[in-house]
């Protein structure tokens, strides 16, 4: 234990921690343990998909649609195939003849959710390369494989498709017009899902409200945009009839499932590995046609095949997100107490909807946020259009609904002449009401119960971090007297995290006595190898370097789910614990045999098992592993089977509820409309923090993505369905000089739902900034009664308010 004691000093660094509720474990959990991932990445020795080079490898490239909606005639790939250096070419006809489409429902929703939320779902399957119609700009219509990517792209130039333009459906509203053409004729409609949910008296609750406000809120389209584009390498081994796939994905087990299904192979004969992955944020959180096509090509051609997306291709073809329209009505009394809320919203799903109605389901579940509201009714249409498919991106339905909700709260405050902070406090669920039954069903099919937290405290602390409400209002007044416009923006949210259905883990003791952990989690920079080692080191009472962690490899854990939806800390730690518990049982039984004592007298210590209170009576894990071996000379007691290994699956009872209060102070420039952020604060609670420094990094990274969505990033389409922002010159990512001073304060309220008190935190940071910035700008423009009810918040729109009121 000496090693552990010396490491037990807190290393939270400059992370701002809560001051009371932390559970001191005395181990690694709760410490800012340095990342074991860093060294290779910093030395330039990372191994990303694009870095993989196999003997005889050939390169795939895809011909992509220049039109949003077009009937496909003849796609002749003969000339391309005949080109020097080209070894394969295929049209949609060739691919459709060989491979089935991807099942539209990559995520299966449980019956419990469908029973309690009214649904009518018709999700289209996605052809790997269509041969009937092209449904968005960027959809592939042919592919070529050649000795180099350069040659493959040359060959694509020789494919002149015969495309007949069809009337495009450039957005959700145009797709709902009576008589509009259909994106998928066989569905008979352009709606992939109708959803409806109700709490209390629902819309009828509005009838008795003394005041009602009705507004439309628009959350624009933007995307995950990881720095590494997508990529796939596949290698087929004829002798063993096995496929190995390296994909830049967040879900290796989904890729294995879909490839095995499409290629008619047992899942065991397909291995999918996500090596170093250069960011995902949801955009790599489902299976794409290329994952399957590259695997198929490797088997078909008999050589390793590589495809690495270029950035233009990524912007056209990798999933987009957000793109919602909300019509909200809010009923409230003279005190600002919200009595009823209705919302009717559209999700522009684009041409396919690979994660089904998941985003909309999130939006429905998260609208009420941290507030107690008796009556709520919502309906949603997930609309198919001729845009790029829409899939979850960091926040996944929560930034969109949060924008509608938190703008509404500010509008209530403005209507009544109350402070927006005060209206929030009056409606918030107090900590003494925890756990709180929401009265809705989560998409895991379980009745929603906020498990723990102190929402008002988070908001109080956020305001205090900006100097306190009174001081802020005084500063604002003083500034206005000088002709300067300061605004306070607030935004609060709750976030269901650690969602099921399950995660898998295999834990074993190696013959050398080291602890081996493998999970189905697939990180993209979160630091999973470090934090899962922290968990396991504490569970086994070993120095952290004795723990070896494998992630994102289907060869190491037979069933897994993956890293999406802020879930891995919660679900993988649960799986590691279950597997560890099972191995512990055997370890204790064998140690008792070796030490000739009762199991109840034993404890884990010093990388082995010892007799409590007797320092000399100890056996190491290495000795126990030797004793546990099958064969002659084993030292297992009767009834204990050989081996020290267990695979377990954690099926969480339901989600844990993280939450945050955000506040910012901005100054807007009357001349240019420039929005200068003085400071941005998030008080965030994700339960017990396993590694505070990494948690802090997750939240701050999320905040900057949220600020990008609020102010810079936009996937803009014209009225004909053409994407106008096809490069990083047009799609503006935040850079270092765009980032304001950030303050993240971690409040730690343990979750009662799991052994470690943890909740998820990957997405949270990105949820609130769009509405916080909009609220801040509206607050600054309060003298003009300005309302900004859509994103992104543009300087030009801000300047226009000044011009109109000049």
């Amino acid at each position: 234990m000496a090693i552990l004691a010396s490491l037990a000093t807190r290393q939270a660094g400059d992370v701002t921690m809560d001051d009371g509720v932390r559970r001191e474990s005395g181990g690694y959990i709760g410490q800012s343990v340095p990342r074991r991932e860093d060294k290779n990445l910093l030395l330039g020795q990372g191994n990303f998909v694009a870095d993989i080079q196999l003997p005889g490898m050939v390169h795939a490239a895809f011909a992509r649609s220049p039109l949003p909606h077009a009937k496909i005639g003849i796609v002749d790939v003969t000339a391309a195939r005949a080109m020097d250096g080209v070894c394969f070419a295929a049209s949609g006809d060739d691919v459709m003849a060989a491979l089935p489409p991807i099942n539209g429902m990559q995520v299966v929703t449980p019956q419990g959710w469908r029973d309690r939320v009214d649904t009518d779902i018709l999700i289209p399957d996605q052809p790997l390369i269509p041969n009937d119609k092209l449904r968005y700009v960027g959809e592939a219509f042919a592919l070529v494989v050649a000795d180099s990517r350069y040659i493959a792209e040359d060959a694509l130039e020789l494919i002149e498709p015969d495309l007949e333009p069809l009337q495009p459906l450039p957005d959700a509203e145009s797709a709902l017009v009576d008589g509009a053409p259909l994106v998928h004729e066989h569905l008979g409609r352009n709606v992939a899902a109708f959803l409806h949910a109700k709490k209390g008296a629902g819309a009828e609750g509005l009838e008795v409200a003394p005041h009602r406000l009705k507004r439309r809120f628009v959350h624009h389209r933007y995307a995950a945009m990881p720095m590494e584009c997508r990529g796939v390498v596949a290698d087929y081994d004829t002798r063993t009839d096995t496929l190995t796939i390296w994909s830049s994905t967040q879900v290796v087990h989904w890729v294995r499932r879909e490839v095995a299904t499409a290629l008619g192979m047992p899942e065991e004969r397909v291995r999918c590995i996500a090596p170093d992955v250069g960011g995902g944020f949801g955009g790599k959180g489902h299976v794409y046609p290329e994952d399957i096509l590259v695997a198929w090509l490797a088997r078909e051609i008999g050589r390793p095949v590589k495809w690495v997306e270029d950035r233009h291709e990524h912007i056209l073809n990798a999933a987009h997100s957000r793109d919602n329209i909300y019509d909200v009505e809010i009923g409230f009394d003279d005190d600002g107490k919200i009595l009823a809320l209705t919302s009717s919203f559209l999700v522009d799903s684009g041409a396919y909807t690979p994660v089904g109605a998941g985003i909309a389901g999130n939006s429905i579940a998260h609208m009420l946020g941290p507030y107690h509201i008796e009556n709520y009714e919502t309906d949603c249409k997930v609309v198919l259009t001729n845009r790029t498919p829409n899939a979850p991106y960091r926040g996944a339905g929560r930034p969109e609904v949060g924008f509608a909700m938190e703008r509404s709260v500010d509008l209530v405050a403005n209507y009544l002449g109350l402070d927006p902070a005060e209206v929030r406090f009056r409606n918030m669920i107090p900590p003494e009401d925890m756990p709180y039954e929401v009265g809705l069903t989560y998409r895991d099919g379980v009745a929603m119960v906020y498990d723990s937290g102190d929402y008002p405290k988070a908001l109080r602390r956020a305001l205090a971090e900006l100097g306190g409400l009174e001081t802020i209002r005084q500063r604002q007044k003083d500034a206005l007297a000088e002709g300067r416009y300061l605004g306070l923006g607030l935004g609060c949210y709750v976030e269901g995290t650690g969602v099921g259905p399950f995660e898998g883990a295999t834990v074993k003791i190696d013959p050398t006595g080291k602890i081996m952990v493998a999970t189905g989690a697939c990180p993209q920079g979160q630091g999973h190898e470090t934090i899962f080692a922290q968990f396991a080191a504490d569970m086994w009472q070993v120095p952290i370097d004795d723990v070896f962690v494998t992630v994102a490899d289907t060869g190491h854990v037979s069933q897994g789910y993956g890293t999406i939806a802020s879930r891995s800390t919660v679900t993988a730690s649960g799986a590691i614990k279950l597997a560890t518990d099972a191995v512990h049982e055997k370890v204790f039984a064998i140690a008792a045999n070796l030490l000739e004592t009762a199991e109840t007298d034993l404890e884990l210590r010093d990388a082995g098992v010892g007799v409590k209170g007797v320092p000399d009576m100890h056996v190491s894990y290495r000795d126990i592993a030797t004793a546990a071996k099958p064969g002659w000379g084993h030292q297992r007691p009767d009834g204990v089977v050989a081996g020290l290994e267990s695979t377990s699956y954690y099926e969480p009872p339901t989600v844990t509820w993280s939450y945050a209060a955000n506040a910012t102070l901005v100054e807007v420039d009357p001349e240019t409309g420039q929005i200068a952020i003085e400071k941005y604060v998030e008080v965030h609670d994700a339960g017990v923090l396993v590694n505070p420094k990494l948690a802090d990094g997750q939240v701050k990274g999320g905040l900057v993505q949220g600020l990008g969505g609020a102010l810079l990033e936009e996937l803009a389409y014209d009225d004909h369905g053409q994407l106008l922002t096809g490069s990083l010159m047009d799609y503006l990512l935040p850079s270092a000089s765009d980032v304001p001073p950030l303050a993240v304060i971690h409040q730690e309220t343990p979750s009662p739902l799991n052994a470690f008190g943890v909740k998820g935190l990957g997405e949270g940071g990105a949820i609130a900034p769009p509405v916080v910035i909009a609220n801040a700008v509206c607050d600054a423009l309060r003298p003009f009664k300005a309302e900004l009810n859509s994103t992104p918040v543009r300087w030009a729109d801000v300047a226009a308010f000044f011009d109109q009121n000049a």
Binding site: R35, L42, Q45, Y150, M227, G278, G279, G525, K700, P740
Partner: protein, 174 residues
């Protein structure tokens, strides 16, 4: 492949020769021909800075240059920062300040920082922010990157070299 040229470059002190078509990008030559995959490709149109390397002393986007243009050049990349497996002080600071998550942009971020700290005289907070805006990172929100680069500038130039307006930032280009 037809019409290739023999290109010789010095990469991190090592003289290397490979074949390249005139149209081959320098970054592809480094990665695919010379098998130095530490440098990454993020956008191939000169915006993201992930492919930044130091060519004859100055930072440059290796996706905006052809390999033939670099014939005879001295090139430094992320792989050359460490000495005998010992991380360079800047690399250590990146780990200490959690200045990387996925690590994909890190090669360009590190080389941009090396250029900024060693080739510029202004290491005020604003100068560091503006200088580092040449390299995009999607994971970290730049907080750890700015802290690490600031600390490295302090190590190289002393406290006076990094003095300036501590309340920098807060600008956005919407």
């Amino acid at each position: 492949m037809t019409d290739t040229r023999s290109i010789t470059v010095t990469v991190n002190g090592e003289r290397l020769t490979g074949e390249a078509e005139p149209r081959m990008l320098l970054v592809d030559f480094l990665r695919d021909e010379l098998r130095r995959t530490g440098t990454h490709v993020g956008c191939e149109h000169g915006v993201c800075g992930t492919c930044t390397v130091i060519i004859d002393g100055d930072a440059a986007r290796s996706c905006l240059m052809f390999a033939v243009q670099a014939d005879g050049a001295e090139i430094s990349t992320i792989e050359g920062l460490a000495t005998n497996g010992e991380m360079h002080p800047l690399q250590k600071l990146f780990s200490e300040h959690h200045a990387l998550q996925c690590g994909f942009c890190t090669p360009g971020v590190l080389m941009t920082a090396m250029d900024l700290v060693h080739n510029s005289n202004d290491h005020s907070p604003d100068a560091i922010r503006i200088g580092m805006s040449a390299a995009l990172c999607r994971c970290t929100g730049y907080v750890g990157i700015i802290d690490a680069v600031t600390e490295y500038a302090r190590q190289v130039h002393g406290d006076s070299g990094v003095a300036g307006d501590e309340t920098g930032g807060g600008r956005n280009d919407g």
